[in-house]
């Protein structure tokens, strides 16, 4: 595996420069991602409006919302914020600590809120 932190060259971000040709390609990619993000939002709204909470389909829709949102977020971070073009080391420094903390926070708060909910139900006046 290539160690990208040892490469000594001028790929410093201030020198990020591309010509008109390459710019056209990048703009095409931007348009594609825009259409995709808009479509995902439209699908989410349609699902939210037509499938009511409490129906048998609802739990699947809920999981679908979370997956679609993560897809949207991934495209925004990777393409719009150019994290996909950064070095691997920077990508991991940003994503890994965040992901670990969020997973921990989610697990602990789901467990705890389940417990609190049970207690409240049990001692409801």
């Amino acid at each position: 595996m290539e160690r990208d932190d040892l490469i000594v060259n001028d790929s410093y971000s201030l020198n990020a420069y591309h010509d008109a040709e390459h710019g056209k390609e990048i703009r095409k990619k931007i348009v594609r991602v825009t259409i995709l993000l808009t479509l995902i939002t439209a699908v989410e709204v349609a699902l939210g409006v037509y499938i009511k909470q409490g129906t048998t389909l609802w739990p699947f829709v809920k999981v679908g919302f979370i997956i679609l949102t993560l897809v949207k977020a991934a495209y925004i971070v990777a393409v719009f914020m150019h994290l996909g073009d950064e070095r691997k080391s920077l990508r991991y420094v940003i994503i890994v600590p965040y992901a670990i903390f969020i997973i921990y926070l989610l697990v602990i708060s789901i467990l705890e809120s389940n417990y609190i909910n049970e207690v409240w139900l049990q001692f409801k006046p």
Binding site: S13, L14, G23, I26, T41, E44, V49, V93, W120
Partner: protein, 282 residues
Amino acid sequence: MASDATKALDKSALWGGGMSPFSVSYGKMMMWFFLVSDALTFSGLLVAYGYARHAYTGPWPIGEEVFHALPGLTGSYPLLYVALMTFILIVSSVTMVLAVEAGHRLDRRGVTIWMAATIVGGFIFLGSQAWEWSHFIHGSAGYIIGNDNKIYHLSEEIPHLGTAADVASFELILNRGEANESRIGGQEAVRLYNAKVQHVQGANLTINEYGPPQYGNFFFFITGFHGFHVFTGVLINIIVFIGVLRGVYEKRGHYEMVEKTGLYWHFVDLVWVFVFTFFYLI
């Protein structure tokens, strides 16, 4: 005012190791670190919302039943307005990324146009949010707490400065949405309304017509905190836009400042994507 930096510094003077770690400039790296910490703040808020909602034992308000109005129109358009706000923010994110792309080609005109479009998009979003807050605070018909301490929902909104007797076919609904729902109409409804303890309409920090008080509080805090981010984002965009107009970045030889403010702007869009899902959809 100090003059703008135009001279490029030797990189080995800037970094102890002679080169920049991760091959990004100091400013961009710090912007990313700031965004990670800000993302943790928003995650904390959204997780707290989920916690409160999950632990709550009563019914929790449903997004499409609370947010179904469009400005200037009557009738029900569930979630359309919020979807429109999402679309506005996505579009302004796209114009921002186009400004960054133009900056990489040192195309000053392109950067100017796209940054101006981004700022306009930011203002449209802020205006939309102001309308949404105003609508949420004023509410619709609402409910009354009767003198028997029961909750009666109003069938129709009482017009401003009007009384219940002015509304044709005024009805009060007991146990709305449940199996034993019953409607009270005519003189009896007006009498009950006039003997009410409180008419709950719209939302404030202690009570709201949509559901438990936490719901209103989380709405104000989460969308408010996000709206404040949008506001500061627009301000930073305007400052950088003035720099673009003055040719500061052209003299400097790179448009990295546009890229850095762009990172913040995309982050604001990213947060809204999550707020949209977890507050409005689920």
